[in-house]
Amino acid sequence: MKRARHLALSCLALFAAGTGLACSQPSLTTCDIAQRSCQQDIYYKVLSLRGDAIDPFDGLPPVTVISEDAYRTMLEQEQASTAQSGPNPWDKALLLLHFTSASSSAADGGTSDGGTGNSSIDDQVTHVYAFYDPSTKTVTIISHPSQTSSDDRQQAMITLAHELVHSLQDRELDLNKQDFTSSDDYLAFDSMIEGDARFYEYLFENGLLALGYPQSDMVAMPNYELNYVYTHFDQAGAPLFAGKLLIYGLGAKYLATAYDSGGNAGVRHAYAKAPHHMVGFLVGDDGRVPPVSNGDVCPAPVALALAPTDATTSADQFGALFFYTFLRGWGVAHDVAFTTAQTWTGDFLRVQASSDFTTSAAAWRIEFSATPPAAIAQALSATGELTVTTSGQALLITVSDSATPLVWTADPACP
């Protein structure tokens, strides 16, 4: 018997889509973030603010609630672990350049989202409400039994919203990314990560506290934050920590600008086009976005007397933001420091130490698209600690704690 075989295909129809109504955003009332229902409400609110649907395989991340004592123990263990690392040429070199101060160290601060960077363990235990750990993909909430006022709870909710943005980011890009080419590259990435979380934290805060910022002018909030840091720079900690603090506002401003012009769609695309150098985030009040070069620069000179080896010598690109905070740390006014940092095209920071780490030195070459103002060299060399040479559109800064002056040997290819 002949068997009939059939094939059928579904067809496509062309369709011109209309637009839906504005997404209804669930209202939120003050709640205790240690409670699961509160965490869920904040999670859905954050999804709504980002304009996201939901990945059914990645809901609310695991949330752990720990006591202040447990958090203190965790911080003390981290600090002890960091202290066990051996000597490296950076610690002293950063001190010589005034990136850090004697009362702070590279291991101190910058590990929490509390913001100040140089806070002590006591400060962190008291003020950190929550953090997200990409290695375990969990949010940890620190329970503060003494902080039960409405203001405290709202601040805790705002912090949790920030951390939940990180958990959402972790499904879209790799928060454990390690293959950074420089500190500048890392800071630019971190500026997007923290800026994104800060920006949606603003939106969340604006709704929760009814602050009244119009959604068409969300750049006002990062501008307020940034201007506060610029004008109270002496309270922002040492320049290294001030830079890590500024990335929150700078990243948020980058994304708020995209949001003001194109909503959440604009933010998604701004993410995809994120600058790889911090100079791309240095947008001033005039709204001008500095051009981003490829960062290529002549290597900084080397002090051959320190017998450079892999263990005692290291190099990095610090980028425009750290150059700005460096200048502020040496007393250069905001306007001059900021506009000069905007002309950054590349830098090369080489640090060296003697084999026994008793002598340290640093050479930093920064190149610009315009000749830096003379006031900068004057400010940097005022105390006699730094040696500053201006060569056309480049600045060379050297410093050492050597008892005898070092001879710096420049790369022959460099002017």
């Binding site: 839906g20 890009l173 959604q215 959440n264 998604r268």
Partner: protein, 241 residues
């Protein structure tokens, strides 16, 4: 079938088009092979030049079907190829948005066709009961182990879905098809069930049966009343085998 959804919010409008191509082949009168493959295209206010397109997971299914009085029953097993991929890069948010919106516009129904970096082996069954006057009641369900295969998608989860629908003839060529569906979401989801209601109109022509419908998610997480307010619009041609 072409699914679409639009999201308009302050400052932006995003439209997702999601064509699902499906073909069926009758191997024997009671055995069907079915191939379905979906795609997604996100266009927003940044312009078509900045649009984002991704492929879903193609699914090959085999069905056995039988008829018993007024009952038409079919059951089968499918397997998906994990072609849908979301790179963990700076543009990952665009891809995540596209996949998640596509699943949302379908009320998470057959989400294994879209979920990135995972494969699934769904068992599918459907029963239709014909009443006098051309009315039909139907139930459809599936259960699927879903396995993470790359990119941080790890482990195995179990998805399930169940739908009840009716075909209500209005005249000789037109049918109204209300449908209520519930999807069991993965255990990591805050809410484990997503329910949706769809109303389709189906028009019989000499070239086949065409349909248009709108789907509303009903409850959290995607519901239009208490959730993220996601919906979908569907256009297509039915397979008459």
């Amino acid at each position: 079938m072409l699914g679409t959804t639009a999201e308009s919010e302050p400052g932006s409008t995003s439209v997702v088009f999601s064509p699902l191509l499906e073909g069926a082949y009758e191997v024997f009168p009671d055995v069907l092979l079915d191939l379905a493959w979906g795609f997604g295209w996100l266009v927003d206010n940044e312009g078509i030049g900045e649009s984002t397109a991704r492929a879903g997971n193609p699914m090959l299914s085999g069905f056995y079907r039988t008829q018993f009085n007024a009952w038409h029953i079919r059951a089968g097993l499918g397997i998906t190829a994990p072609l849908a991929h979301q790179p963990l890069e700076m543009d990952g948010r665009l891809y995540a948005f596209l996949f998640n919106q596509t699943m949302a516009m379908n009320g998470m129904w057959s989400s294994w066709l879209w979920t990135p970096d995972r494969m699934a082996v769904p068992g599918i069954a459907r029963a239709d009961y014909s009443l006098a006057g051309g009315y039909v009641l139907a139930a459809e369900g599936a259960i699927a182990p879903v396995i993470g295969v790359r990119n941080g998608a790890s482990g195995t989860d179990l998805l399930g879905q169940l739908a009840l629908e009716a075909r209500l003839p209005l005249g000789t060529r037109f049918e109204l098809c209300p449908r209520l569906q519930t999807v069991l979401l993965p255990k990591t989801s805050v809410d484990r069930l997503q329910s949706a209601f769809e109303l389709r109109g189906s028009l019989k022509t000499e070239h086949g049966r065409y349909f248009a419908g709108v789907l509303f998610n009903l409850d959290q997480p995607l519901g239009i009343f208490s959730g993220l307010n996601r919906w979908g619009f569907h256009l297509g041609k039915e397979i008459d085998l």
